[in-house]
């Protein structure tokens, strides 16, 4: 079999070995090899390679450098260079010129070159794109991981089923490999129990398909960790549905902290002018239409939280809390603990002791849940819901 890779500078069997190690990336590797030339050749100063996550960029370079002893300076996650000093990227791009030696800089990124180009202009690197693996390619690559105690065909058919479920949502090779490893035991269960033979793929498919669908909703989005997923498979109680991470949103707070949070939410989402309407007993008849300003026609909830000063927060707090509360030190320290818990955000600088400003950084769902526990009807106090 003759491979795709051909180069006068390297022995054919070496190239063939490389080819086996980088399935489905022969074309790109060939391009790279020809760009680099033979060891004594001067090569192009900089090459920019982009392609999605897990499209084999690092892997190909790693293999080339190891097997063919190509030398190059490889920068992974090159997008981080943009945050570095402004002259770093241009300098790297023409490093060959600067150090006066045969050195190639290869930048790897998931972002296209257009997003890198500095305003001041720079040396243009050669661009090389690593396209996503196609379904067939994925199938081919994943099948190489076959389990030692089962036949390669079985594993290949397992991968086929897996891709059937996951290909529409995930093309990330690493994720797919991970999922394949997690669910293979379940797939083999009927085989080890002796119920099904290896050839009865349809029965195996029927067994594993609902299971994979469940995995898509839990372990794939990391609701459940892979360790827990494996434990779930072992116990396999129908009732024992494991609660994912996002199911735990409840936060226990001290009584006054809850009211402080409610006050903060009201202060963030109600315009300050409307406070009188909500918190003064005889506010007269102020209808919503009367004090609608032009820009307030849009919902405050769509605009996001607005900053408010400490005294406004306290004024609202004292009017919503149902009992007389002494303004003790612990009330104030609760505000700062709400900030450490990231439920409030301090806008002003922490050095500013006078009139600090805050924003409330929690969702309506969260605050509704909190106000329900203290029997406070928050919707009645929100300007948006008048």
């Amino acid at each position: 079999m003759t491979g795709v890779l051909h180069h006068p500078g390297y022995a054919d069997e070496k190239l063939q070995r490389v080819e086996q190690l980088i399935p489905c990336r022969e074309l790109q590797a060939g391009m790279l090899v020809s760009l680099m030339g033979q060891p004594q050749h001067y090569s192009y100063p900089s090459i920019f390679i982009y392609g999605h996550r897990a499209s084999g960029k690092s892997h190909v370079l790693h293999i080339l450098m190891k097997e063919l002893e190509v030398t190059a300076l490889v920068m992974e996650k090159a997008e981080l260079l943009r945050d570095a000093d402004a002259n770093l990227l241009p300098a790297l791009l023409r490093l060959q010129e600067l150090v006066d030696d045969n050195i190639t800089v290869i930048l790897l990124s998931e972002i296209v070159w257009e997003k890198f180009r500095p305003n001041t202009g720079c040396f243009e690197p050669l661009l090389l794109h690593f396209p996503d693996y196609s379904k067939g390619e994925l199938q081919q690559i994943l099948s190489t991981d076959s389990h030692p105690s089962y036949s390669a065909e079985l594993y290949s058919s397992y991968i086929n089923i897996l891709l059937g479920v996951f290909y529409s949502v995930c093309r990330d090779l690493r994720e797919l490999r991970h999922l394949a490893a997690l669910n293979f035991n379940k797939f083999c269960e009927p085989l080890t129990e002796g119920k099904v033979k290896e050839t009865e793929t349809h029965k195996l498919w029927r067994n594993i398909e609902p299971h994979l669908k469940k995995a898509m909703q839990t372990v794939y989005i990391r609701e459940v960790s892979s360790l827990q997923w494996e434990q779930m498979q072992q116990t396999e109680d129908e009732g024992g549905a494991l609660r994912g991470l996002s199911a735990h949103t409840h936060v226990e707070l001290p009584y006054y902290s809850k009211f402080l949070l409610i006050a903060a939410y009201l202060a963030s989402y109600n315009p300050a002018r409307t406070d009188k309407r909500f918190f003064v007993k005889h506010h007269g008849k102020i209808r919503k239409t009367n004090f609608l300003k032009k820009n307030e026609k849009t919902s405050n909830h769509l605009l996001g939280p607005k900053p408010f000063a400490l005294d406004r927060l306290l004024a609202i707090f004292y009017s919503v809390v149902d009992s007389r509360v002494a303004p003790t030190a612990s009330i104030f320290s609760q505000i700062s603990s709400l900030v450490t818990l990231q439920l409030l955000t301090q806008i002003s600088h922490t050095d500013q002791l006078d009139a600090p400003k805050y924003k409330c950084s929690i969702s309506l769902d969260f605050i509704s849940a909190v106000s329900r526990t203290v029997n406070f009807d928050i919707v009645k106090y929100l300007y948006d819901f008048l």
Binding site: R53, D145, H147, P148, S149, R174, E175, R177, H178, A180, A181, L182, F184, N185, I221, R222, S225, S226, L227, Q228, L245, S246, A247, H248, T249, H250, V251, E252, L253, P254, Y255, Y256, S257, D311, L314, A315, A326, P327, T328, A329, S330, I331, S333, Q334, S337, T340, L341, Q342, L343, D354
Partner: protein, 702 residues
């Protein structure tokens, strides 16, 4: 354990003062019972802390051990997913200061039994990635790490470069060295095997104490860098989470969270925590020091309303303890039985006089016969004997109070809508307040108990009998046998219960061939009648008997402590002191200081009969007083004039003199200083609305 340490120091601070008082009263020479009490509570607290966290710490340790062993397995599945970093998400509740202790013990435990490589970092030290890396490296490798690339040349030659590859090289060198050295050299022989196993590649544990505080970007970068080294460096993370586990998902995008294998560990909620503390420290006769209802109420409401901090609750308890021993001379009797009885004999004449003046003792004397009254009030030896007896009685009261309280709680916590509270502390508070059996809720609870189903009743009675069986006093033993007899009767009931063939009216109805409306009505009426006057079934009778029995126990053993003679010895009752110390009110203190300076300065000349500020008060007080009389906006010049007048009067100038009330440079400067002090305290602020005016702030005078 910081609180314990600081408490211990407090104990030393306290000692000299009691020594000083030694000269005053003979009875107080005995420092021992106090310090004994203090060391006793100190030991107990330590044990308690360990117990509280034991469960969660144990499971975390298991997790760590499991992670390090699965990594060493070489089967297909674990090889396939070895690139995930095992992570424990530890949810500890919103009270962040309490976490320190938990993390410290976790740190120690991990170091002791899993791996020598543990480091814990907190957000405020790690604003940028470099600092985080530096912290981690320094914590693990115990060397200086230089984070400044520029000055690399001048750096200490021993310092290392700040990157994970340094750490990974260090780790490789370290593990190679330790596996070539004789294993288990420093460790116990019995643990050797287990340790040897971990010894090969002990995990590197990084504890993030406050995950919420970290900059998400820093965390993401750190995690993705770490995941590149996972094949060489067996890392493991522990995230300390204060709010909810979903924070992890808010902070980390899928591309990063997919690098982690997160397992959730949820600690006890703080209210459960509190319940344990109360159970172990308060609801026990073991410990002679007690809190009265109001102090308890203060401590509990600080917990529930303000901070959810068990540590603060314990601190409050410690404060009350110190205050009690400090302020109550008779607290020397607040100790173990033997010592208390001994201390009674050592009471001085002055102490005995204090005893005679105790309200509870006066009530006690009034109930005695005339001769006895005189004897108690005059004969010191007789009083000592009486005190010994009373102390014994108080102890007996406590010995039966707590078991009965628990029994009552066991029964009432079953009832719908918890008439006497869901938690035992609520019931305890009711009982401390007044006679619980006079409470309306108690009576309705008893009525509900008389309707309880058999199964529920019997299971809870069994629990009661367990509680009573563990109590040691004679009275409780007696109550235990009585309850057991009642339980036996229930059992007996089961055996002999037979379907009684009561001829029901319905059956009569069925026997009649024809049913007309009149007949039906008549039968229904009859049924109603019979139901009303129905003879109670044996079970119902027995149930009533049991409820009466419980009611009897309650009335006999649960009167409030105030009804007991000499209760002042053990009960600390100054709730105001505790509140003042624990729930500081800075604004009120400032206002008190400004409006009545004599309160803090204790200078008699500042006192005015009508409560106004005297002219000779400090400048800021005068300025404050004058500003209270102004509206929202204050004209600075008018204010200055008024101030000059008041100060002139204070200086004793003749009101008719020309210079009276004139502003000179010194007065002007003094005025400006007080105004800026008021501004600093937040009573006024400058305004641009009107020239030469300042604005009073909302939270100012009123």
């Amino acid at each position: 354990m910081t609180c314990v340490h600081s408490f211990f120091q407090g104990c030393f601070v306290f000692k000299p003062s009691s020594k000083k008082r030694k000269t005053r009263s003979l009875g107080e020479t005995c420092v021992n019972p106090k310090s004994k009490n203090i060391t006793w509570i100190y030991v107990l607290l330590e044990v308690l802390q360990e117990e509280l966290n034991k469960k969660i710490l144990d499971s975390l340790l298991d997790f760590a051990k499991k992670c390090s062993t699965t990594r060493q397995h070489c089967d297909w599945a674990s090889k396939m997913r070895a690139n995930e970093i095992p992570t424990a998400a530890l949810v500890l509740g919103v009270n962040v200061p309490d976490h320190d202790m938990t993390f410290q013990s976790l740190f120690d435990l991990l170091k002791h039994s899993v791996t020598p490589h543990v480091v814990s970092v907190q957000a405020k030290e790690c604003g940028v990635l470099k600092h985080l890396l530096k912290r981690v490296l320094e914590g693990l490798m115990d060397v200086a790490v230089d984070d400044d690339d520029e000055e690399e040349m001048e750096q200490n030659p021993r310092s290392v470069h700040c990157s994970l590859s340094t750490l990974s090289d260090w780790y490789t060198a370290k593990t190679k060295k330790s596996s070539s050295a004789t294993p288990g050299k420093k460790r116990n022989v019995q643990d050797e095997d287990e340790h040897h196993h971990h010894h090969q590649t002990p995990p590197v544990v990084i504890i993030f104490k406050d995950l919420e505080g970290f900059n998400p970007r820093v965390l993401q970068d750190f995690i993705s860098i770490c995941s590149r080294y996972i094949d060489r460096l067996p890392l493991m993370f522990i995230f300390g989470i204060a709010t909810s586990p979903s924070t992890v998902q808010h902070m980390l995008p899928h591309s990063v969270s997919s690098l982690l294998c997160i397992e959730l560990f949820q600690s006890l909620s703080c209210t459960q925590h509190l319940a344990t503390v109360i159970d172990k420290l308060i609801l026990t006769a073991q410990f002679p020091f007690k809190l009265n209802g109001k102090v308890m109420q203060v401590l509990i409401s600080i917990f529930l309303y303000h901070d959810f901090s068990v540590r603060n609750f314990i601190k409050g308890l410690q404060l009350a303890l110190l205050e009690h021993f400090h302020s109550q001379p008779l607290s020397i009797l607040c100790c173990k039985k033997k010592e208390a009885l001994l201390n009674v004999t050592l009471l001085s004449g002055r102490d005995l006089e204090t005893v005679r003046q105790l309200p509870s003792f006066i009530r006690f004397v009034e109930k005695q016969e005339a001769g006895e009254q005189v004897k108690l009030m005059t004969d010191d030896d007789h009083l000592k004997e009486a005190c010994q007896k009373l102390i014994k009685d108080l102890r007996k009261y406590h010995k039966s109070y707590y078991p009965v309280l628990r029994c009552l709680h066991t029964l009432t916590s079953l009832l719908p809508r918890y008439p006497l509270g869901k938690q035992i502390r609520e019931l305890h508070l009711i009982c401390l307040e007044k006679n619980v059996w006079e409470n309306e809720d108690y009576q309705s609870a008893m009525k509900l108990l008389k309707m309880l189903a058999k199964d529920e009743l019997i299971t809870s009675l069994r629990k009661c009998s367990e509680i009573l069986s563990s109590a040691k006093s004679k009275k409780m033993k007696k109550a235990f046998t009585e309850l057991d007899e009642l339980l036996a009767k229930f059992k007996h009931l089961d055996v002999q219960e037979e379907p009684e063939s009561v001829t029901s009216p319905i059956r009569n109805l069925q026997q009649q061939k024809k049913t007309d409306l009149f007949q039906l009505q008549k039968t229904l009426l009859e049924m109603n009648e019979s139901r009303r006057s129905k003879k109670k079934s044996p079970f119902e009778l027995l149930r009533n008997e049991v409820v009466e029995f419980i009611d009897g126990l309650v009335t006999c053993h649960l009167p409030p402590p105030e009804s007991q003679t000499l209760y002042e010895v053990c009960y600390y009752s100054s709730s105001a002191t505790v509140r003042r110390h624990l729930n500081a009110t800075p604004r009120t203190s400032i206002q008190t200081a400004l409006s009545s300076p004599c309160f803090y300065l204790q200078n008699e000349s500042l006192k005015n009969e009508d409560g106004t500020v005297s002219n000779s008060a400090p400048d800021i007080c005068i300025a404050y007083k004058l500003h209270l009389e102004c509206g929202r906006l204050i004209n600075l010049y008018d204010w200055l004039e008024a101030y000059a007048t008041v100060v002139s009067a204070a200086e004793g100038q003749d009101p008719d003199c020309d210079t009276f009330g004139k502003v000179d440079d010194v007065k002007h400067a003094r005025f400006i200083r007080s105004v800026s002090e008021l501004e600093f305290l937040g009573f006024i602020k400058s305004t641009r609305q009107k020239t030469d005016h300042v604005a009073r702030l909302t939270w100012g005078g009123c």
